[in-house]
């Protein structure tokens, strides 16, 4: 065995927690030398390249790059231990992936077990076990958990109003029409008066994410909020027009969507 002390990197965006882990490690593993402390994922990567520690303790939630993303960069060049606050999903994913992880606040017994496992691996010179595929899967899983927009109906639309970007509540939207490059959103502004906004998202994509109980596609290029409809007037030749509350413009109903407005 070499006389060289094992080295470690700690990455956490909360300074108190970085220090706490360093202090706890000093007790549980006096031989371990903390060679770097990083404040975010990006810093973790550059400090890793600089110091090449044997072990990396990575907080999962960090600004910029997450701990899992930093871990993908490190790969099998170091033993990894993930650190997370109470977080059911992440913890489940770590357990399933047979990855080492600690839950904040870190319990001494749990830390001792992790340290024993790491010491064993370092002594036997076992290569780090995590695989790229597992980490990739994990980082995708975490991203999905954070972005649940795919499953829930859209509640806010990020749109350009004049020079500013705004969040518009879908409840305030009267209708949406596709423009050549944009989707035009007709909504009621802060004073309740009609206003216009633009988004780059195509109408088709928005249609899929809007709540079908509230919004109805009435034309290839138009979606209307049911609550904004004042009345529907049938025209000749299988067409109809939608008249809106508090708005002068009229929306067309194309033949394919006319059945939605048949008299009951």
């Amino acid at each position: 065995m070499t006389a060289e002390r094992p080295t470690a990197l700690i990455a956490d965006d909360e300074p108190l927690l970085r220090e706490a882990l360093a202090r706890q490690l000093a007790q549980a593993w006096p031989a371990l030398e903390i060679v770097a402390q990083a404040r975010n994922g990006r810093e973790a990567i550059s400090l890793f390249e600089e110091t090449r520690p044997d072990v990396c303790f990575l907080d999962v939630q960090m600004p910029g790059l997450t701990g899992v993303e930093a871990a993908r960069h490190v790969g099998r060049r170091a033993h990894l231990v993930f650190v997370t606050a109470y977080d059911h999903y992440a913890v489940q994913a770590f357990a399933q992936g047979a990855l080492d992880y600690l839950v904040k606040p870190v319990e001494p017994a749990r830390l001792a077990a992790t340290v024993a496992r790491l010491q064993e691996r370092l002594r036997a010179a076992t290569p780090a076990t995590h695989t790229e595929a597992l980490l990739l899967q994990l980082s995708e899983q975490l991203a999905r958990l954070q972005d649940r927009s795919g499953t829930e109906p859209l509640r806010w639309i990020r749109a350009q109003v004049g020079q500013t970007l705004r969040l518009i509540a879908v409840d305030d939207v009267d209708y949406l029409r596709s423009d050549t490059k944009y989707t035009r959103i007709a909504w009621r502004g802060d004073d309740g008066k009609p206003a216009d906004a633009l988004v780059r998202t195509p109408l088709r994509e928005l249609a899929a994410r809007l709540d079908p109980a509230q919004f109805m596609q009435v034309h290839r290029s138009a979606i209307v909020n049911l609550r904004a409809i004042s009345h529907v007037r049938r025209g000749e030749n299988e067409t109809a027009d939608i008249h809106l509350k508090n708005r002068d413009e009229v929306l067309p109903v194309s033949r394919n969507f006319l059945h939605l407005f048949r008299q009951m």
Partner: protein, 360 residues
């Protein structure tokens, strides 16, 4: 709020010949036909036949004027038309029947005493009875409609109650944030382990935060002063957790402290600014809270110079959507929530609502 839709009423022939109506007409006219049939000159079944015939025609007339014409002149209520038409239909039908049943070559029925008796009986009875039956049917219809309306109203009320409950539930979910709690506790533990004198201050902030957050579940509205206390405690805790990344400032108009404010209004905005503005930003940022009272309106603005709306995509808006619901529940249309990007960086969220003193 979703509209409550009255159950579709059938129209056209389905309404005119619905089985209940036909069955009632048949049995009612059969009953009277059979009763009169016992002493009927031309036999039992002849009487039944004629009574049922008159009944059916009266029913059809009733049904016809129930739907036609579509619009009634203002001076003539539909029910009057229906009742009069039903009564008037009776002699027309009986005259037709008696003419039809006259044998070829026989004298017209009004010259035959026996036949005249039957004619007179059915016509008189019909004219007397049919308006009452028609009126009875109309009253029943009115009652059914009233019941339906009452039911729809009840439905609408329960829908509103459900929405209020939903808003409460969302509030509950917004509050139970174990991630925040455990992370903060991990920090407290770190301070205690290090023997830091800061530990006691932080614990005090945590207690203030929890005390302000926990009993609010059952209160429909709190004061802005209480909200500010909660937010201050929350921000102190966050500053302990990221001392190098978070600055904040509160500019508060003293005149606004006693105003009514739905619970967690300010906290939701500040949490949002931290989660979507400061947290994802490596450099962190600064949060400004401004509370102003203008005569009868109150304006609360929370701004940050963090990551900005462009970068916000994750789990955006559930907290804000719940806040909108709570504001609507307390203030109706009188409250607004606007969220926009800020130059050169960051986001500003503005809530405006009527200035009402908390009634206590």
């Amino acid at each position: 709020m979703s509209a409550v839709i009255l159950t579709d009423r059938p129209g056209g022939l389905a309404l005119a010949f619905n089985w209940k109506r036909v069955a009632f007409t048949l049995s009612f006219s059969f009953f009277w036909g059979a009763l009169f049939g016992l002493g009927w000159n031309s036999g039992f079944w002849s009487a039944v036949e004629r009574f049922v015939g008159v009944g059916l025609v009266a029913m059809m007339v009733f049904s016809l004027f129930e739907q036609w014409p579509k619009r009634m002149p203002r001076w003539l209520p539909r029910w009057v038309l229906q009742v009069v038409a039903v009564a008037a239909s009776v002699p027309v039908v009986t005259v037709t029947m008696w003419i039809w049943s006259t044998q070829p070559g026989a004298p017209p029925f009004w010259e035959v005493q026996e036949r005249m008796t039957g004619f007179g009986t059915l016509t008189g009875f019909g004219i007397f009875m049919s308006p009452w039956v028609a009126l009875g049917a109309l009253v029943r219809q009115k009652e059914a409609l009233a019941r339906e309306r009452a039911l729809a109203l009840e439905l609408a009320q329960s829908e509103m109650e459900r929405q209020a409950l939903d808003a409460r539930l969302n509030l509950l979910q917004a509050q139970v944030a174990p991630h925040f709690l455990f992370n903060t506790l991990a920090n407290v533990q770190a301070l205690v382990d290090a023997g830091s004198p800061q530990a006691s201050d932080v614990l005090r902030s945590l207690v203030a935060y929890l005390r302000a957050a926990v009993p609010r579940l059952n209160e429909p509205a709190t004061t802005l002063g209480q909200e500010l206390g909660l937010v201050r405690a929350y921000l102190e805790l966050m500053r302990m957790r990221m001392p190098d990344r978070l600055q904040f400032e509160l500019k508060v108009d003293e005149a606004a402290l006693g105003l009514r404010c739905p619970p967690m209004t300010l906290l939701t905005l500040v949490e949002n600014a931290i989660r979507h503005g400061i947290d994802p930003n490596e450099e962190g940022g600064r949060i400004e809270i401004e509370v102003r009272r203008y005569e009868d309106r109150c304006r609360v603005a929370v701004s940050d110079d963090g990551a900005g709306l462009q970068a916000t995509d994750r789990g955006l808006g559930t907290g804000l959507a719940a806040l909108r619901e709570r504001l609507e529940l307390v203030f109706g249309d009188a409250a607004t929530l606007a969220i926009r990007s800020r130059e050169p960086r960051g986001v500003v969220a503005v809530v405006q609502f009527p200035a009402r003193a908390e009634a206590r």
